[in-house]
């Protein structure tokens, strides 16, 4: 057991989620490792402080009455004809295409790339008067998150989400008046990721897989399912083991990405039903012509 594994095991032990075998290994590691003992001690101190945080001040006596007065004049909304799952999957699936395109092509982004404008919202000029992207500084915490979270493709997704929490509409809205600026910020975030050999390999693999998927689609062996996942077509019977693995890996990652975004989008979908999804579809239709994922490695 190395330090990282020991520290992870210690955290899991706090949730009583550590198997006896790992518990023994952890005990043995801690007996010999002062650094990890220090880690555990510091973590205990922090968690104790967290649990002992001062309680909330009392609720003002008239608080609920004030809220009730507001509720009395607030109408409810009737459930939409849309089910939540449909826009979640449609939007998340669409975002996956956008992200996939960025992964494939971001290494080619030159510094100071001109903003790529999508369809402008109704009533808005095609070229919004945004301040220069160069003037935008990502907060250090977000950069740290990006740097720390790039061990695999999903962790890159998480890192991008961390950026989105700084500029929230970055991921939630693929279209709208902030869209070009958001895209530039998104690219700026990607460019901040240090291209270690490990990450280059991940991106290269991702690139290769997207190309393989495109080839399978072009051959009529797989198609895009309504749920944002790949689906097998009749010709799929003759898929090789490698092609089956490509299919399964791609769907596994898509599903994980969809879950990740769906978890963050749950509240934004009220707007997505009426505004974002139709806009995004138009945007993606235009963008997909510009950035075919099957371009060479």
């Amino acid at each position: 057991m190395n330090h990282e594994e020991a520290q992870e095991a210690y955290s899991r032990s706090l949730d009583d989620a550590l198997e006896p075998r790992l518990r023994e290994q952890l005990r043995a590691h801690l007996a010999d490792c002062e650094d990890c003992r220090e880690f555990c001690k510091g973590l205990k101190q922090a968690l104790n402080a967290l649990r002992e945080m001062p309680g909330a001040p009392p609720v003002p006596p008239d608080f609920l009455e004030r809220v009730a007065a507001k509720i009395a004049v607030t109408p409810q909304v009737k459930p939409s004809r849309w089910r939540w799952g449909i826009p979640v999957l449609a939007f998340a699936s669409a975002m996956f295409v956008v992200l996939g395109g960025y992964y494939v092509s971001y290494r080619n982004f030159p510094a100071g790339l001109p903003i790529t404008h999508g369809s402008a919202p109704e009533g808005q000029p095609a070229t919004p008067s945004f301040k220069s992207v160069a003037a935008i500084e990502l907060p250090a915490a977000a950069l740290k998150d990006i740097q720390a979270a790039v061990k695999d493709i999903l962790r890159i997704e998480e890192a991008l989400y961390a950026v989105a929490s700084v500029k929230p509409t970055l991921i939630f809205r693929g279209a709208g008046e902030d869209s070009p600026l958001e895209r530039e910020l998104y690219r700026a975030a990607l460019k901040k990721i240090e291209l270690t050999e490990e990450i280059k390999e991940i991106l290269s693999d991702r690139h290769a897989r997207l190309a393989a998927v495109e080839a399978l689609k072009a051959a009529g062996r797989v198609g895009e399912g309504y749920n944002g996942l790949l689906t097998l077509l009749p010709k799929a019977a003759s898929l090789s083991d490698t092609q089956k693995k490509t299919f399964n890996d791609e769907n596994r990652d898509r599903e994980a990405v969809m879950k990740l975004y769906a978890s963050q989008l749950s509240r934004k979908l009220g707007k997505a039903e009426n505004i974002v999804v139709p806009e995004l579809r138009r945007e993606l239709a235009a963008a997909s012509g510009k950035k075919p994922v099957s371009s060479g490695r």
Binding site: Q7, E8, S11, R12, L14, D15, A17, F39, G42, L43, Q45, A46, L47, A49, L50, R51, E52, M53, P54, G55, A56, P57, V59, P60, F63, L64, R66, V67, A68, K70, I71, A72, T74, P75, Q76, V77, K78, P79, S80, A141, D145, A162, S165, P168, K259, L260, A262, S263, S266, R267
Partner: protein
């Protein structure tokens, strides 16, 4: 309250049909939970009142869409956290006011007066711990902050956290590990700055 004696499920059903009295009863049942969470998230009374009020209002508006696939309290928890995130986004960052330098209303600075009583050093130490952990908590990624509050302060199980945050149990475990490590680092740093 005329709704006394009704179960939570009954109150939810009535609220979904526009019964304001039933919703007020639900609000009374859940307000302490919302209030405590708001305090943990914001750390000052002005913001927490606004947050809890907004949570109740949004819950009222959205309750016809509640499908009872999760517990009502979990659903409310999601709404409150989303409201907090929205406010944070709109404001850039919520006002961060150290707990040890504000009055109960979160607005006026409190004078630091030396206390000669025997318990004063211990109180000061506790106050410094509270200040450091608040600073550390506020420095975390929002989802890490949420997951730590739910697990360490509110005692949610990993399954319950997964249901609220819509993530698989494996992800809950991973995020908890990372969140704890980040909290430790931030706390020790904040505590070290006070020495």
């Amino acid at each position: 309250m005329t709704e006394a004696g009704s179960t939570e499920e009954e109150l939810v059903l009535k609220s979904q049909n526009g019964d304001r009295a039933a919703f007020e009863a639900l609000m009374t049942m859940t307000n302490a939970m919302c209030w405590a969470l708001a305090w943990r998230l914001t750390g000052n009374q002005g913001d927490m009142e606004d947050l809890v009020q907004e949570t109740h209002l949004k819950a009222w508006i959205a309750i016809p869409k509640f499908r009872a696939q999760s517990k009502f309290s979990s659903w409310l928890h999601s709404i409150e956290f989303n409201c907090y995130m929205d406010r944070k986004r709109k404001q850039g960052k919520l006002r961060e006011v150290s707990l040890d330098c504000v009055s109960g209303d979160g607005e006026r600075p409190v004078m630091q007066i030396a206390d000669p009583s025997p318990g004063a050093p211990a109180q000061m130490e506790a106050s410094e711990r509270a200040s450091s952990i608040r600073k550390a908590l506020d420095s975390l990624r929002p989802e890490y902050k949420q997951i730590l509050i739910m697990r360490e302060q509110e005692g949610f199980s990993q399954e319950e956290i997964g249901a609220v945050m819509h993530i698989p149990k494996g992800t809950v475990s991973t995020w908890l590990t990372r969140a704890r490590a980040d909290l430790r680092e931030a706390y020790l740093k904040a505590a070290g700055e006070k020495l």
